[in-house]
């Protein structure tokens, strides 16, 4: 057996010996298979069980309490204008980097003449990135981003300003609802390379427990709720 194989065997048999378990015990195998297949939910906080308008308010107030700027837009034009207004507010160039996400690409960008769009992964020189969240959990104001050509992960971490568009219908009560959505997209037991749960701008409290925004990731997070 290779050394790697011996290492593997040594840990697994140490664990089995300690547990007094025997290899190929059908009852143990079944317990594990059932748990993985059934993935039962634990307690979901009551605050997540609310109707739509209250749930949306919870989502927004949780995000804002963590230092995120939130804008509600009823039309795509309003969303584009909110994004441009935020860039101007923070004296950033009227430019954005985004991925191939169809929703983002086909926003009515003509509503803000002169805005410059670049496409693809961020490289460290971009000032502002735009992503679309595939879902969001209202319970803690948490956006869910998935890696891929549509929304490259680097957009969420390298630019100093990160903007996220979330459709109102994609805001769900709790983390468990998010996982069910991901299972619907990627299949049972499958996930993309990266799933980012994002609940605010980058921050640190390492020095004297003083909270400072903009540690290594974005200094500002701006969320536009569309719909």
């Amino acid at each position: 057996m290779s050394q790697a194989g011996q290492h593997r065997q040594s840990i697994l048999s140490a664990v089995r010996t300690a547990l007094g378990a025997r290899l190929g015990d059908p009852a143990r195998d079944a317990a594990v298979t059932e748990r993985l297949r059934g993935h039962p939910r634990g307690t979901v906080p009551a605050r997540a069980h609310q109707d739509e308008p209250a749930l949306l308010d919870l989502f927004q107030s949780m995000l804002e309490s963590q230092g995120t700027e939130v804008t509600r837009a009823t039309t795509p034009e309003e969303a584009v204008q909110a994004i441009a207004a935020d860039l101007r507010l923070h004296h950033l160039p009227l430019a954005l980097r985004l991925g191939e996400d169809e929703v983002l690409r086909t926003l009515p960008w003509g509503a803000t003449p002169g805005i410059k769009l670049c496409f693809g992964a961020a490289d460290g020189d971009d000032r502002a990135g735009l992503s679309r969240a595939v879902a969001a959990a209202a319970e803690t104001g948490t956006l869910v981003l998935v890696s891929g050509p549509d929304n490259p992960t680097t957009l969420a971490f390298l630019p100093e300003s990160h903007k996220v568009l979330i459709h109102r219908v994609d805001i769900v009560p709790c983390y468990e609802d998010v996982f069910d959505r991901l299972r619907a997209i990627y299949g049972e037991g499958g996930l993309p390379r990266t799933v980012n749960l994002i609940s605010g701008p980058s921050r640190t409290a390492d020095i004297e427990q003083t909270i400072v925004r903009g540690a290594h990731g974005p200094k500002r997070l701006h969320v536009v709720i569309l719909g």
Binding site: A18, R35, H39, T43, G148, P152, R193, L197, Q209, H216
Partner: protein, 478 residues
Amino acid sequence: MADAAKAAPTHSFSEAAAQALADQDLQRALLNVKRGFIAKRAKARDKLPEFARLRDEAKAIKDHTLSYLDLYLEAYERKVIESGGEVHFAPTAKDARDIVLRLCRDAGARLVTKGKSMVSEEIGLDDHLEAAGIEVAETDLGEHILQIRGDTPSHIIAPVIHLNKETIAADFIRDHDGLPPGRSLDTVPDLVAEARAVLREKFLGADVGITGANLLIAETGSSVIVTNEGNGDLTETLPATHIVLASIEKLVPTLEDAATVLRLLARSATGQEITTYTTFATGPARADDPDGPRAYHVVLLDNGRSGMLGNEFHDMLRCIRCGACLNHCPVYGAIGGHAYGSVYPGPMGAVLTPALYGIDQARDLPNASSFCGRCEEVCPMAIPLPALMRKWRERDFDRGNPPFRQRLALKSWAFLAKRPRLYHALSGFVMPVLARLAGADGRFRHFPLAEAWTGTRDLPAPEGETFQARYRKSRVKP
């Protein structure tokens, strides 16, 4: 027993504790623990009425996982491989160091960035890689500060809680090359901005990124990290190779189980509802991904943990490293983390350190507790920390480690305590004698065998009667 890495405690606890108590800067810094963490956690817990129920469920999740750990390890491994990654099993700290070094060499690494990882501190990884000529950049702000100081963490989630901003500014002036020496670093935001700029270069230039894992999920083969800074994400997204270094007890079965644990983790640690970033990484970048690593490796460390399974220290394997027991411990609050001489300080460290390095190496730690019980009360995984420390004390006694005088005192006490009539007769005789010897002010300035006490303060004398005698008297009165 695990091989003794540099992390094994090597110094005298009582000397280090005495130094810590006399260190004014440290005492000032420790106030931040008491003022900040405790109130924030209490507030977060109060805002979640389901906290106690989640705690019971999280305990049950971990107990279930541990009792099927071999099968969950295999299930997890299958999913990692299915998603294009590799799993490497490391029985000892040395095995883990060797595996990580080999993976770095295979990747042709010159510069490695690292997210915060207590397991990497446990195995002494940085020194091992640097000795092999690989530059290692710690990217968590606190860990970066420790690295340029040649220091070690004093808290498992707030590694530089022992330092003040003036000290850190002096370190930055000394270590950050190519910046004007007269620059202003008076405020915390100044320091954060400088570290951001310095480390951004490292993120973009690294060949390998190494992170720990707060959780491993068997259902999907994912590693989960929680951070606020975003350094962990840059570490695991930008370099061509991502290595996850995690210990075997980090497994949970499903995404739902992860959600339950995550609801407790940040609230217990920093009092946040959730950390800014919670990231699930599963395998390397997919074929059409424009970013992300091309290779994904998980190194699973045992280092003594399988030896705790099923024995009296089993419960400790539920620990999720939130640090709540440190924050609420009066001993930790008085002396800080360094005095423990272990990577893992405070109550959790007092139980885990002897398990990893042997009780002979760490016999002072389970004794550094008043058993006030706050650690167990705030532990989100309901680990009976005082009971586990007591078990280490018993083992220590059985191995004949305590000094002769301590053993004699304990044995004499045990002899008497097991013979109530003798005990009462003796105490009924001794109490009045002591009361008389002490004289009018009822205090001893010196007392044989208690010099450690009387050296700094008087010893109050008994008042002349035993508790039992008084109790009997009060009962016969109307």
